[in-house]
Structures are given as structure tokens and as C-alpha cells.
């Protein structure tokens, strides 16, 4: 999975370490660290980061001058200034040099991640940000939960959902996401997979009887647990997000179309020995 590359420019080693540790649990990857302007320009050209965090005070030139030099080699460079001072004059000079955003030290994790996300929204697009920052977490949690809930291994594939509809034959647990961003998760599978999985979840043998009601309830609960875990993990990284989930609603039957024209959504498929488990993660457009 391609990470969003960040270059950190700061003359203080502690500041550089702080920024990298804040980004450690995210899908941003620190691809370069520079302690002065000359090094920043050289490393920018070499590593082509998606976004740069820039300190104001550098030993050989200030952050604004360094921004000008980077812009000279890449006019589209995305630069966020992180400095101890943040006044109107600095912001005006910075904007003229091409700095897109300004943060004041000490920066909180959520401020930093939000700012980088917003800057990258223009750079790499909303789809990549959703995918990198959210959907990969859902996919990992799905894979881990298949082991912890059902005791099965799986191979995971993620793709953007190009169609606006999903076809459900069997059961789909739909769990809403509220907060920022809003969306919904649908965990779905065919009836055969539903019975096999729910028997595994309840510790039953394959030949044991399980009612449709109980099997559906098992999948519903699995959807609830997996979505809850994924959202908690995301909240843990994006401290101000406060995403929460709504209780599951379940649809059961054949030839059901689940339509979400308003969502940017991703298909996560877990291939298991019991059959395919599908999870579609969708977010409202225009966050």
C-alpha cells in the first residue's frame, strides 16, 4: 500500500522526532528529514514528498526562503509551516512564498494529521486519503477479527468500488458511521458462508443445526464488532475524529441491491476457506 510521503524540515532534532512519532501510527510516512534549507532542497528533489512540514528558523535560511527554493524546483509543492510564532505578518509572507497552511508549536497530533490530510486532499485526492487513512485499517481489522472471532485465515484484497451498487445474495449487516467522516460499513456474504461462519463463531460442528435467525444474528454481531474495533483504532490515531457507530441493520434475502450513489466506497474482500466475506466501506463525499 502506497503511503503518503512527508518530509520534515526542522533544525531541532527533538522537533523532528516529535513529528515523526506523531505520524508513526498513521499512513503518512516520513520519507526525509532535513535540518537546514540546503539539505531540504536536495532531499526534496531526491525523495519527492507529497507534503513538507517546515520550521521557520533554520540555520542557513528561514523557512520562507526555504519554501521559495523548494517551489523553484516544484511549483506544486505542498508545504505546511510549523513554527513557534504565528503572526499575521509571517502568515502573509508565508502565503506569498507558497505555504499552504500554518501551525504553531507545540502541535497536537490531531492538528498535524488533519492539516496534512487536508493538504493531501488536493495533492493525492480524497480517494487516496480515505483509502490510506481509513480503509486499510478496516481491512486489517477484518482480517484480524476473522481469526479472533471465527478462527479462520484470509487473504485480503482492497479495491475502490467503481459501481454505485453492491449485489447482496444472503445477508448484509449495515452499520452506520457518524462523526467525521460520516459513512457506513456493509459486511455481507452468501447464505452458505453465513452458516459456516456463524457455526465457527459459536463453536459448533458443521453438521449441527443452527436457525437462520441465529446465523443472521451472529453475522450482525460480527459486523458490529469489526466496525467497532476499526473505528476505535481510527479514533485512537485521529484524536479529534470521534467517529461512532450506529447499531446494525441487517438485510436478508436474494437479489438485493445496496445502492450508495452518494458515497466514495471501497470493497474489501476476505477470501476464506468458508467462502468470501465482503466488506464495503463507504464515506460521504465532500468532507
Amino acid at each position: 500500500m502506497e503511503k503518503v510521503k512527508v518530509m520534515v524540515v526542522d533544525d531541532s532534532r527533538i522537533s523532528r522526532m516529535m513529528v515523526s512519532s506523531m505520524l508513526a501510527k498513521t499512513n503518512f510516512e516520513v520519507c526525509a528529514m532535513a535540518e537546514n534549507s540546503a539539505e531540504a532542497v536536495a532531499l526534496y528533489a531526491k525523495t519527492k514528498p507529497d507534503v513538507v512540514t517546515m520550521d521557520m528558523n533554520l540555520p542557513d535560511a528561514d523557512g520562507i526562503e526555504c519554501t521559495r527554493r523548494i517551489h523553484a524546483i516544484d511549483p506544486k509543492a505542498k508545504i505546511v509551516m510549523i513554527s513557534a510564532m504565528k503572526d499575521a505578518k509571517l502568515i502573509m509572507q508565508g502565503r506569498m512564498a507558497g505555504i499552504g497552511s500554518f501551525l504553531q508549536k507545540p502541535v497536537s497530533t490531531n492538528e498535524l494529521i488533519d492539516t496534512l490530510m487536508i493538504m493531501c486532499n488536493e495533492n493525492v485526492g480524497a480517494v487516496a486519503v480515505y483509502r490510506e487513512s481509513y480503509v486499510t485499517t478496516f481491512a486489517k481489522v477484518l482480517q484480524q477479527s476473522l481469526v479472533s472471532i471465527f478462527g479462520i485465515q484470509s487473504e485480503i484484497e482492497i479495491s475502490q468500488n467503481e459501481e454505485s451498487v453492491l449485489h447482496v445474495d444472503g445477508v448484509a449487516a449495515v452499520i452506520g458511521i457518524v462523526g467525521e467522516p460520516k459513512g457506513r460499513v456493509a459486511l455481507y456474504m452468501d447464505s452458505e458462508t453465513m452458516y459456516s461462519l456463524s457455526k465457527a463463531m459459536l463453536g459448533m460442528d458443521p453438521q449441527d443445526d443452527l436457525s437462520a435467525d441465529e446465523a443472521e444474528a451472529a453475522i450482525e454481531e460480527a459486523g458490529n464488532i469489526i466496525t467497532g474495533r476499526a473505528v476505535s483504532r481510527i479514533n485512537d490515531v485521529f484524536k479529534d475524529k470521534e467517529m461512532r457507530i450506529t447499531p446494525p441493520g441487517t438485510v436478508i434475502g436474494s437479489d438485493i441491491i445496496l445502492s450508495n450513489p452518494e458515497l466514495i466506497s471501497f470493497n474489501v474482500v476476505a477470501k476464506t476457506s468458508y467462502g468470501n466475506v465482503f466488506m464495503n466501506v463507504g464515506f460521504a463525499r465532500g468532507v
Binding site: G176, V178, I252, G253, I256, I257, S259, P261, E262
Partner: protein
């Protein structure tokens, strides 16, 4: 579940629809159900959470969905329940639930709502509660929309 929680949803329906050019809807039925709801063709699920948690379903026939979409789009004919019509029904469900959320806040119950999930098909079942849920039938000039409301205890 508490029957008084149903009024915010009914009030939302009777307030929002006339603003979109519909005649004032009439409530023609209210029952307490145990069994899963059965889709009439088009069913939109919207979840909510915060001080109370639950789901609301707007369940209607495809004909009714096309009638609603057409009225929302200023009378534009809707032959097929296509993507644009689906967007209209999603948006209506979103507006109704957001308005109901405002009404719930007035009762001291703040809720946040999820994005709507629109489902299309014949005869499938919708389960929104392990317990009882309320089912209200609203009539808009001969078209019925069933509203199923489940709140977790």
C-alpha cells in the same frame, strides 16, 4: 420501546414533505412489530446514535419511490428507479432523519445520524431490532411509506 419516541419521526415526515411540494402526509397506521420488516421494494436504513441508539427504515414500493423522486425533482418524469431517483430517495431519508434528530434534541435526546443505506429488491427482510419496533404507515396522496423505528433499550 417508548412510543413517545415515534412522534419526532412522524413530525419530521409531516413537516419536511410539504416543504418539498408534497401534500401533507396522513398517518394511517401504527403497530408494534416483532417480526423482521419485509421490503416493499425500496428500503432506506438510517442509523443513529449518541443519547439513544437505533435505526429507522423508510420502506416503500418502487412506484412510490418513483413518485417521490419525481415530485422532488419538480415533476420530472421518472421512468426507471435509476441512480438519480435513488439519490433523491437517499436525500429525502437523510432530510427526514436529520429533522427527526432535531425534534429528538428538543426532547433532550441528542442523536447523530449516519449516511442512508438504500436497498432495492423484492421480498427481502430487514432486521433492525432484536426486540419490538414501531411501524408507522404514512399516506401521501395514495402512496404509502412505512416508517420502522427501533431504539435500543
Amino acid at each position: 420501546m417508548d412510543v413517545k419516541l415515534v412522534n419526532p419521526f412522524i413530525d419530521a415526515f409531516t413537516t419536511v414533505l410539504p416543504q418539498m411540494g408534497f401534500p401533507t402526509p396522513q398517518r394511517t397506521g401504527m403497530t408494534v412489530n416483532n417480526q423482521n420488516a419485509v421490503s416493499q421494494g425500496v428500503a432506506v436504513i438510517v442509523g443513529f446514535t449518541k443519547e439513544i441508539r437505533g435505526n429507522v427504515v423508510y420502506n416503500m414500493s418502487e412506484d412510490t419511490a418513483k413518485f417521490i423522486a419525481s415530485t422532488m425533482m419538480m415533476g420530472m418524469p421518472v421512468e426507471n428507479f435509476d441512480e438519480m431517483a435513488q439519490s433523491a430517495i437517499s436525500e429525502m431519508s437523510n432530510m427526514l432523519t436529520a429533522n427527526a434528530a432535531t425534534n429528538l434534541t428538543a426532547l433532550g435526546l441528542e442523536v447523530d445520524i449516519s449516511t442512508p443505506s438504500l436497498t432495492v429488491g423484492s421480498d427481502f427482510q430487514i432486521k433492525i431490532s432484536n426486540e419490538q419496533y414501531l411501524c408507522v404507515v404514512m399516506d401521501i396522496s395514495g402512496h404509502q411509506v412505512e416508517i420502522d423505528i427501533a431504539v435500543q433499550q
